[in-house]
Symmetry: C2
Subunit: 153 residues, 2 copies
DNA sequence: TATGAAAGACCGCTCCC
DNA sequence: GGGAGCGGTCTTTCATA
């Protein structure tokens, strides 16, 4: 992990291509950048060891799986020191895909996906607002997500 | 895209494994589930055609790349009908990794990554608050992200 | 130390049962 | 859904500057 590895233009090109499609053949990357496949391989290994590339995932379309509702929930705790316990409970809810400890209006900010508004309703009442450490919640429903991407370089 | 394809346990196992590691060999998936590699292949193709698997990405560690600051910004527009133009401008900012059209306190809700607080400051003043259609913004800085995952099945 | 070229192993794809 | 063969890709090794 250590210090930030200084990436160059070639690294940037490789990352951009692999973020777009993790299965891009090294030969293609090599041709696009005018280097040999071995060079691509060396660079990818370096990026992995630098901790920049953390893995490869397939991407799922939540809507195709029936998860039509995406929303953010701002959470206020009764006491800021309850943070750890609250997170542990939220972690047990598969619908929660992100949780952040934030400054600003809320103590914790989470992203949630459910199959329907009804399911969101039940989740909120039965599983989230019932967590002892939570004082109040505020829900922002995402009606559409026009931007969704990884950091660009 | 059409109707939701009904996935079974085998599909779920495959998806879970490939979300964890997109390079998991089909032979391994086959052995784990007591079926043949060809069956895995058929299932993966089916999931792709159903639009459930949308692709494969490498995952980047923003911090290893020097992007240490993650925050959410709630945006209120002067007029809700300016939505499209505001999104178009936000789309031009590489630091913006998500944008949602939301109900609740804000019209638009975005996720942003910068290398430093200073960079966030500049981004806010010079590139975001300077967008004509935007009336006001509210920033929530993420101090840590204890949960970060795709939907589980 | 980083690159270029080539050979080997592995995986995924396609046929047929 | 299972099994075998082909093609392609990744990986490794060696040579080079």
């Amino acid at each position: 992990m250590a210090a930030h590895y200084q990436i160059d233009d070639l690294d940037r090109q490789i990352l951009a291509a692999l973020v777009d499609n993790a299965r891009t053949p090294y030969a293609e990357l090599a041709k696009l950048n005018g280097v040999s496949p071995a060079t691509i391989h060396v660079r990818v290994e370096k990026l992995k060891q630098a901790g920049i590339i953390t893995g490869a995932q397939i991407t799922l379309d939540p809507q195709a799986l029936g998860f039509d509702v995406c929303c953010f929930i701002g959470i206020n705790l009764k006491s800021a020191k309850d943070y750890g316990r609250a997170i542990a409970q939220l972690n047990g809810l598969p619908e929660v895909t992100e949780a952040h400890y934030t400054t600003g209006h809320y103590n914790i900010f989470i992203k949630v996906r459910t199959r329907s508004i009804e399911e969101l309703h039940q989740l909120l009442i039965n599983r989230i607002q019932s967590i002892d450490e939570i004082q109040s919640t505020e829900t922002l429903i995402s009606l559409s997500s026009p931007i969704q991407r990884q950091i660009s370089l």
